[in-house]
Symmetry: C3
Subunit: 343 residues, 3 copies
């Protein structure tokens, strides 16, 4: 049985990745063709010609006035996926039509619905408004991961690994030492994991971007909405600073770290990451620093998880894991994902 | 069940590839050893030593006076495949003998019979006489294809793809637009597909080689003898020109495009191609142009079919295809190949 | 069923390979972590963290004062394999412990016991005392082999291949021509194969290292103790020279060629080789010559056996081999290994 939940929304791309060229990407094992039509909206349909299954995103396939022409025999499709021309005859078979995917462009992401289109409800897509809101500046990227998506979920739900895998970047001893609190909202389908460090060293990632010196108060509040969207609300402030009763928090720096965890296949993942901040909004030096440093951190995870995927692939079935308190959030997430995949 | 028909003749090599060095090639999954003996004839036998299965085509195996000496332990074989010497003892086991393959060198090709040798009838080998006839000049090559042979059969039986995959080389709009006629001779085991374009653009491939300018009459007459030999009789002439009642055709240029489609394994193919012409026989510029252009066209097919093989390999079983009129010849060929493979 | 015998000792490394850095190697499919503790002894334990199976030999995992700190979440282990620290909590789960492997460092090798530790008896490890004895000088190496270990056993038990695969190095016509005698000691678990050449050409390997010119007496006495240790007692002397009745043998040159044949996986092998000599003990030119030449010979085997592994992997099951007298020792070894693997 597949470990990938169906009838779910997944991030397929950043909106900025899709232009007026054909763009192919495999999402949950399904090859999908994207392009931005002349009216500016993004369209998504099956990336296989109905005739002999040639990929429509593959040259010499091409786009002519919002019509896709297959590079093998010239089958031609409109924005609605319907075939409008075939070679050697004027009659186009009625069944010649590409499957279209429900699609929403929102919060800088292109979301597609994988599963039964009748179940697609755009209201269920979780939000990450900072990624294209005024008041925030965002850096972002996507790294391909040669590992199953659940390894990335494990990784992000347990940030104690920052101390070891990301030491010198975002990890300090306090991350691993400080206990977490975990909360699961089964109805809303959200896992919360919080770690509030009252008095911690400031890692270079935050020291250089905020200018804070010395020890800090550092809060990590994770909010994961399986299967795809992960948000880390990160609060950095001078030691002792707390938000005001009205919610304002003028002494603190806020960083919204957002991941979209999208299975490419059963054993590979698109690892989208974005870092939105509410300070130094126009400082390009800070943007460049955060982009480069977060990408380095993501690549450290990618390297470790690629190793783990190879380890698991060569283990005999039924290998043992040992879980401790730090894994509470990750285990809750696994259970939710297993239920989703089984349903 | 294998998709490769047995008890059939296949082209294993051009005669020019086989010299007095050991030459190994896998045909229909069978590793075969070839060399040209001192009397000038080509011999073919199993490319595995009977002792520990070391490949006899692999250095330091070597040929000494028409005897093959295995590079591992020195088992030595004569032209008839019989072992004549083994290490450490004078008695040679009676059963130490390499399987030989029926072989015919004809029309510039080396044909081998894969299957039960008792069924090998050289009279059943289809002919391509132009490839070594006076009155024709031929250019040729072989490209390895990482795709099942049936994808190349599909490709060659439906030339409407020339317009899209080979535009700017041999394709023009008329190829895809002009309907075909298909005929199947079940008794002789031949599929015919014809497309006669009365008034068509002349693609660069023919314009530069014939010197014809402007619009042309272009005939494509395919004659495929499954499983291996494919011939495209190509006729290029000024618009309106037809052959004389006696068959002479002095105003036309004739090109015989010959493919030998030989499975290497279930999922890879030797793609032999040759282009014989009855004009500009001694013009080396024309030869160089046709050789380079046809190789480019073949490599365009190779790239597309390698993609298709990967697509099919990752599809769930039972994927759908949609066939139209242009596929009539290809579907007839598939049926003949399936019957051959099942028998 | 695995072809690899369990409950056996295998060479995992040369002692010189293991220092105070973490060192990982897979032995018989089991990933093992090695390091030399501060007291100078070598330790061996499972190379997978009990938490999420991250390899402990993989950076950023590291060694701190004889404790291994996992590079993913910081699980920390002592020399006895017991976990002594985990992140986020002070209580360490009682079951958090890495499997340790019985280990003996002897004759320059690090031996580990693969199987049930209760069955590990160090007295059963076969000896190769020359490799770190005064009176001998040794050159050595290890080459990775992408072939199952039984192909290397076959190779080494039948030295007639020296004439063909290693001609110009250690092979001469007499090796393949001279019959062998084979003896099997089932109780002790040893296969002996001897080939005494009374009057043979001296191959470059021995001519350049001993200075002997012209024809020689050459004895090859193999002693293989399955599964891992292979010894070739090689005696080179002027024609007609025999040892004295008291065992002294002053006119002869003695070379002890030792192989440790350790499965890495079912289809790959660590090919340890060492050449110990009782002459020219301090001659660095001779050492360099023997090291380079023996490595060349080993690599000739590696190339041939890698080819054979690919051949066998693509053969249909039930392929035939034909065995002759030279294979008597190899077939005896195979039977012993099959019994060991089945028990």
């Amino acid at each position: 049985m597949s470990a990938i939940p169906r009838d779910q929304w997944y991030v397929a791309a950043y909106g900025s990745e899709i232009g007026t060229e054909l763009f192919g990407r495999t999402i949950c094992g399904e090859p999908i063709l994207f392009w931005r039509t002349r009216d500016g909206s993004v369209t998504a349909m099956a990336d296989r010609c109905v005739h002999r299954r040639f990929p429509l995103s593959q040259a010499p396939s091409r786009l002519v006035d919002d019509r896709v022409v297959c590079g093998y025999h010239g089958f031609t499709y409109g924005v609605d996926g319907k075939c409008v021309a075939v070679p050697g005859q004027t009659r186009v078979p009625r069944t010649a039509r590409l499957t279209r995917y429900p699609l929403v462009e929102q919060d800088s992401f292109v979301w597609v619905f994988i599963g039964d289109p009748a179940k697609a409800d755009a209201a269920q897509i979780p939000r990450a408004p900072w990624l294209d809101s005024p008041g925030y500046t965002t850096v972002r990227g996507m790294e391909p991961l040669k590992a199953r998506y659940s390894l990335l979920v494990d990784n992000l739900l347990d940030l104690s690994h920052e101390t070891y895998l990301h030491g010198g970047y975002i990890g300090t001893p306090e991350v691993a030492e400080t206990p977490i609190t975990t909360e699961v909202d089964e109805e809303a389908g959200v896992v919360y994991v919080s770690r509030h460090m009252a008095d911690a060293a400031c890692p270079p990632f935050y020291a250089k971007s905020t200018g804070l010196e010395g020890r800090i108060t550092r809060w990590q509040d994770i909010e994961y909405t399986p299967p795809c969207l992960y948000k880390l609300h990160s609060r950095i402030a001078p030691v002792g600073s707390v938000p005001n009763p009205d919610g304002s928090d003028p002494d603190a720096f806020h960083v919204e770290v957002v991941y979209a965890i999208t299975p490419e296949t059963e054993h590979s993942t698109h690892d989208f990451w974005a870092v939105a901040r509410d300070f130094a909004l126009d400082d390009e030096g800070v943007s460049a620093f955060l982009a480069e440093n977060n990408r380095t951190v993501v690549l450290q995870d990618v390297e470790a998880l690629d190793v783990l995927e190879r380890v698991i692939a060569t283990e005999p079935d039924g290998y043992q894991e040992l879980s401790i308190n730090i894994d509470t959030g990750g285990l809750a997430a696994r259970r939710m994902l297993q239920r989703m995949a089984a349903s």
